[in-house]
């Protein structure tokens, strides 16, 4: 029997007995960042593949959401800060060792870029739109002319943004549940899948929906593989990693994780999408909403469970 107590009395808020320093703001921000990364990635990718005409929702309508949720995500990130008036210190340095630092810079680049992207399509989407100022009109024609260049930058930044949401967590070696190299790719794939779900919700074209359903199905399969791979890695790891995995395998997060994330968020929408692709009538809103819900749950569970895991000594 081994027992450990604080003789001197220690009960620091949000730290004892379990770390809970990051509340709801962080998982929501990671989620919104992932969704935006997915939307912008597909917008850029299909521009580079020359499919502007066939995929109006991917190009124009879904990206409207990206800058809105990015700004919202940044706002939640700001809410999480405890020394708020000093937030600008983030933008006085660039620290490559700190994922939060380069993540903040990437957000500072991709948020305005996504606004430029949406701006370049404003007149196509809303014929009555008027920029009012000559400078903005000039800027618009520049953006339209350079759309493929912007798409290149956007694809790269979207991948960095998507993978950063996972690396932000995986860089903490003191939290064994987060500290695994698959978490970055896993969050990236999950973000892209949720981005594809938004496009599915917005799209009205049969061709676009079929294509995005196929892509989403592939992403779900990869995500499932990564999740199993992650848990296998933990089970074959050191004592702290085994303890981390046990939260999901028999521990307090077992049901929430396997039912809400894996079953309802991945397996069930994958089944529905397969049925739809086979020609059955399935309202697209169901798998899309389930994927969006599963992605959110996944981030909440990972952030909360990860903070509980720690080194034992």
């Amino acid at each position: 029997m081994k027992e450990e107590i604080f003789v001197s009395g220690r009960n620091i808020p949000d730290i004892d007995p379990f770390l809970n320093i990051w509340h709801w703001q962080i998982p929501i921000y990671l989620y919104l960042g992932g969704v935006a990364a997915g939307i912008l990635f597909f917008a850029g990718l299909f521009t580079l593949l020359g499919k502007e005409k066939e995929m109006p929702a991917t190009m124009k309508w879904a990206p409207i959401i990206a800058p809105i949720i990015l700004v919202l995500g940044l706002f939640f990130l700001f809410l999480d800060l405890k020394h708020k008036l000093y937030f600008w210190q983030l933008y006085t340095t660039m620290r490559f060792e700190s994922p939060m630092s380069w993540g903040a810079w990437v957000l500072m680049a991709i948020t305005p870029l996504s606004m430029v992207w949406v701006g370049s399509y404003m007149k196509e989407m809303f014929p009555w739109w008027d920029w009012k100022f000559k400078v903005l009109n000039l800027f618009e024609s520049w953006a339209i002319k350079n759309r493929s260049n912007i798409a290149w930058v956007m694809v790269v930044l979207a991948v960095i943004l998507g993978i950063y949401t996972g690396i932000l967590l995986s860089a903490f070696n003191a939290r064994p549940l987060w500290n695994n190299s698959i978490l970055g790719p896993l969050f990236l794939v999950s973000g892209m899948s949720t981005g594809a779900a938004v496009i599915l919700l917005v799209s009205k074209s049969h061709y676009e929906r079929t294509l995005m359903s196929r892509i989403d199905l592939l992403l779900i399969v990869i995500e499932l593989f990564f999740i199993f791979h992650m848990i296998m890695g933990f089970r074959a790891g050191s004592a702290v990693q085994i303890a981390a995995a046990s939260l999901f395998v028999g521990g307090p997060f077992t049901i929430t994780f396997w039912v809400f994330v894996v079953l309802l968020g991945l397996l069930f929408p994958a089944l529905l999408e397969t049925l739809e692709l086979r020609g059955f009538k399935v309202p697209v809103i169901i798998p899309a909403i389930l994927i969006l819900f599963g992605g959110l749950m996944f981030r909440f569970i990972m952030v909360e469970a990860g903070q509980i895991t720690r080194y034992l000594y």
Binding site: E3, E4, G9, I12, W22, D80, H83, K84, N173, Y311
Partner: protein
């Protein structure tokens, strides 16, 4: 210069004087602490082993808190002391997440606070407050690079351990066992 601390777990009685001294010296707000005492009990009667440890920031060589800080507020001072610059800290909590020793906390004023090895005293040639008040004299502080310092001498002559070295942090609080 490499400051370190050695704490004799066999002499410590767990009186928590170090904790109170620190709170007084550094104006630690009520309900928070920069150092604390843990008691680990192994075995069951009649074969019981108790270990008392006065714990604090390990002032690691490879400090995850300094690495993950997005603004550079967490940094390493001369002598290996890990400090937080209040006016640079945004209170994001990354360093609190990164510490395997839970040695940092969010100060009610917003910034992150932690043990400073009483750098203001050490620079004047004094010992940290916790070491200075210890009634059993079970704590040793000094420069590891100086072979004749109190801490180097005791580490040469006694068996010791550090906490969670497997976290890869290279901690510098040594527990004599």
């Amino acid at each position: 210069m490499r400051y370190a601390m050695a704490i004799d777990t066999r002499k410590c009685v767990g009186c928590s004087d170090c904790v109170v001294a620190c709170q007084t010296e550094n104006d630690v707000p009520i309900g928070f602490c920069r150092d604390w005492v843990t008691e680990t009990v192994d075995g069951s009667y009649p074969n019981v082993v108790i270990e008392l440890r006065s714990e604090r920031c390990n002032h690691c060589d490879y400090s995850p808190c300094v690495r993950c800080c997005p603004t550079g507020a967490s940094h390493i001072e001369d002598g290996g002391i890990v400090l937080v610059t209040k006016s640079k800290c945004i209170g994001c909590g990354a360093c609190i997440q990164s510490c395997p020793y839970e040695a940092r906390y969010s100060h009610p004023d917003g910034y992150v606070d932690k043990c400073t090895f009483c750098i203001h005293r050490v620079r004047k040639g004094e010992k940290p407050a916790c070491v200075a008040v210890c009634p059993t004299k079970c704590m040793y502080f000094g420069d590891l690079d100086d072979e004749n310092s109190e801490v180097s001498t005791i580490l040469k002559n006694r068996k010791f351990k550090a906490l969670a070295p497997e976290a890869g942090t290279q901690p510098h609080i040594y527990y004599l066992v």
